[in-house]
């Protein structure tokens, strides 16, 4: 299986040309302009990435926070193979608010799962802070997930038989950390949940559930917050509140925020937009934003 899908990249005699900002491999394209910057040659997928690079070029020359390198994901159901990710190359930079857009089935959620170590690629490599994490064992990945990532889902995904408080502190149990009650109470207050501590998910509104999920995502104080359509199930007012909290975490607490969404308004606020089509990036993401949001 590995052999069949591991397709070597064609460079037609040229050097590999990688967009330093989004990580897209441009080697196959013939219309990519070569741009000189401070004596070095760079290639960009489009205006958006080029502008970001020129604004602060130093930032994009080290190791990205997350790097996907030729990642393939193939789901096999019976005899039918679905290639969800097709040799995806992608960079996520520390502190960015990244929005991933694309039609359903374009592979954006799968890509998010790859970044959050929730899924293993069929082939290809994933780097976290320069370290290859694609070959880590299950438990090492679980440890990294609990320390580094906080997840927020469209369906909130709270454990139905636990109270709001227990749900929010669950990651601490799995990382065997002490629950600091006072600190937690402050957080619940900040989220306006101080009277909902002992309520179970079915007794909470959608917005409240998502705030509990947010507290849970933040329990281990992770560097990266991943949201898979976190406002998708909420009305616009509630959704906006959740989004405000998320953006605040990005701007004021320096958390890297990666959100998969269909919402054009959210995309508007991002530092970096990444558009997906057929399991890979589309060139010039910024201009495609309209096409893939409502």
């Amino acid at each position: 299986m590995q052999q069949k899908i591991k397709q070597p990249k064609i460079y037609s005699g040229m050097d590999q040309r990688i967009d330093p900002v989004c990580g897209m491999d441009l080697s196959e394209y013939t219309d990519v302009a070569e741009i000189s910057h401070q004596g070095k040659k760079f290639y960009f997928c489009g205006k958006g990435c080029e502008e970001r690079f020129k604004k602060d070029s130093g930032r994009f020359q080290g190791a990205p926070l997350i790097k996907l390198d030729n990642v393939w994901k193939i789901f096999k159901i019976g005899e039918v193979e679905t290639k969800v990710l097709r040799g995806l190359d992608l960079h996520i930079w520390e502190g960015d608010f990244v929005v991933i857009i694309g039609a359903s089935g374009s592979g954006k959620s799968t890509a998010l799962n790859m970044m959050g170590l929730l899924d293993k690629p069929t082939s290809g490599r994933i780097f976290l802070k320069g370290k290859d994490v694609s070959l880590l064992k299950d438990d090492e990945r679980a440890g990294l997930r609990s320390k580094t990532f906080g997840f927020v889902f469209q369906q909130y995904n709270l454990i139905p038989w636990l109270t709001a408080y227990e749900n929010a502190t669950l990651p601490l149990i799995f990382s065997d950390k002490k629950i600091e009650t006072e600190k937690l109470n402050v957080r619940f207050q900040e989220m306006g949940l101080e009277e909902r501590l002992t309520h179970r998910p079915f007794e909470l509104s959608g917005g409240e559930q998502q705030r509990v999920a947010l507290l849970r995502a933040l329990a281990n104080d992770p560097d990266i917050i991943l949201g898979d359509e976190p406002t998708g199930n909420l009305d616009s007012t509630t959704g906006n509140k959740i989004l405000e909290i998320l953006i605040d975490l990005n701007k004021n607490r320096k958390k890297t925020l990666i959100i998969v969404t269909h919402d054009a308004d959210i995309a508007e606020k991002a530092d970096q937009i990444i558009a997906f089509k057929d399991g890979n990036l589309i060139r010039d993401h910024q201009t495609h934003k309209k096409a893939y949001t409502e």
Binding site: D119, A142, N157, I159, L162, F174
Partner: protein, 400 residues
């Protein structure tokens, strides 16, 4: 960590109350059976050992049926001719033979009717067996004068506890619509089964039940005679009679061995049945755990996403199945003891006492049972728990 895991487990068990209880019930039934069987076999052993102890060393007992199958002989209702038994007295070394009858009849006293075990024999000889061989004396009153009078003697407990009102010498009881005068009651033997008996003459019993013959016999041998030799001679002589083909001649020593063997076989069979039901319970736990892994696939995905390791998921499921097993064990022991107690109360009404003993269920025994159920729970949870722990979080999260 463990404390938190326990709390998590309890919450998830409570979330699926009905299913959890039904699974626990499976184990409860198994353990209940084990407890009842242990109590039953130790009770029967005690009773029989006690009965054999009171049985004199100069007595030989005769009953129908093969020696290796005494229960069938007793239940078969076959009877010896009295004459064949009395002829045994002609054997050298035999002092006398007492043809015995046993029955379970309704006895009425003070408006109450109780089914009671009745022992019947020729009074003159039986008194000697009771007094000199078995050391059983009268507490009050006297022995009946002959076999024709309508007189009975009560065992110690039969007099004291069988009826609400204590039966005393001089009272009248009705057995099968015939009036009997209570002329005496025995001192305590210390053996529930014997203490609960009412004694009448064999002639009386046979006329009450409209039957003839004797269900068994006790033979008393003379002092200094080899009991095994006497038993062989009795066997030879009895083989000449034509009423009963298979019969047993037991010396106290032989009876002890025989009953021990039979009991061990019964015990073994019952324990095997109990273990099978425990295995069924274990399969129930496994089934529940598989269903709950399937049901909670999404939650497993969530827990893994927020940092639960394989070991954590494995532990959660193993603790859960272990607790289900343990809860089944605890409830099984409670209900087992309770039902043994209730059964013993019910059968006591039919004159059967001392059927259960909880002596073998000491703390160590209970600990072993509880440990066993915990292990059964954990073991039946291993496969489902491993399946849960191996799930890829993204895959589990997609599950609806």
């Amino acid at each position: 960590m463990l404390k938190n895991f326990l709390i998590l487990t309890f919450k998830s068990i409570r979330h699926r109350t009905t299913r959890s209880w039904l699974t626990i019930l499976g184990i409860v039934i198994g353990i209940m059976l084990v407890v009842v069987i242990l109590a039953l076999s130790s009770g029967i052993k005690n009773t029989i050992a006690g009965a054999l102890q009171t049985f004199g060393s100069d007595l030989i007992i005769i009953f129908p049926g093969k020696e290796n199958n005494p229960i069938v002989g007793f239940l078969g209702g076959q009877k010896f001719r009295e004459k064949d038994l009395l002829d045994l007295e002609k054997i050298n070394g035999v002092k006398f033979a007492v043809p015995m009858g046993i029955g379970n009849l309704n006895v009425e006293y003070g408006g109450e009717i109780k089914s009671t075990m009745i022992h019947a024999a020729n009074w003159k000889k039986y008194v000697e067996v009771l007094e000199s061989s078995q050391g059983i004396k009268l507490e009050n009153g006297r022995w009946p004068e002959n076999d024709e009078v309508s007189e009975v003697v009560f065992g110690h407990l039969a007099a004291k506890a069988l009826f609400k009102k204590e039966v005393s010498v001089g009272d009248e009881v009705v057995i099968k619509s015939k009036r009997f005068k209570v002329v005496g009651n025995l001192s305590e033997i210390g053996e529930q089964m014997l203490d609960n008996v009412i004694f009448v003459s064999l002639d009386m019993l046979n006329s009450l039940t409209d039957s003839r013959g004797a269900a068994s016999a006790i033979v008393k041998i003379m002092p200094g005679v080899n009991i095994n030799l006497a038993a062989q001679q009795i066997k030879f002589q009895l083989s000449k009679q034509e009423v009963i083909r298979d019969f047993s001649v037991l010396t106290p020593e032989k009876a002890d061995r025989l009953i021990g063997n039979v009991l061990s076989i019964i015990e073994l069979v019952l324990i095997v049945i109990a273990l099978i039901s425990l295995i069924v319970g274990a399969v129930g736990i496994m089934n529940t755990m598989y269903t709950s892994v399937l049901e909670r696939t999404k939650q497993i995905g969530i827990m893994k996403a927020i940092g639960a390791s394989r070991d954590a998921i494995l532990s959660l499921f193993l603790i859960e199945s272990g607790i289900i097993g343990l809860a089944g064990g605890i409830l099984g022991i409670i209900f087992g003891i309770l039902s043994a107690y209730i059964i013993s109360l019910v059968v006591a009404n039919f004159g059967i006492r001392g059927l259960f003993s909880f002596a073998s269920l000491d703390f160590f025994g209970l600990f072993v049972v509880l440990f066993l159920t915990f292990i059964v729970g954990v073991v039946s949870g291993i496969l489902p728990a491993m399946q849960a722990s191996r799930m890829e979080p993204a895959e589990a999260l997609r599950y609806e």
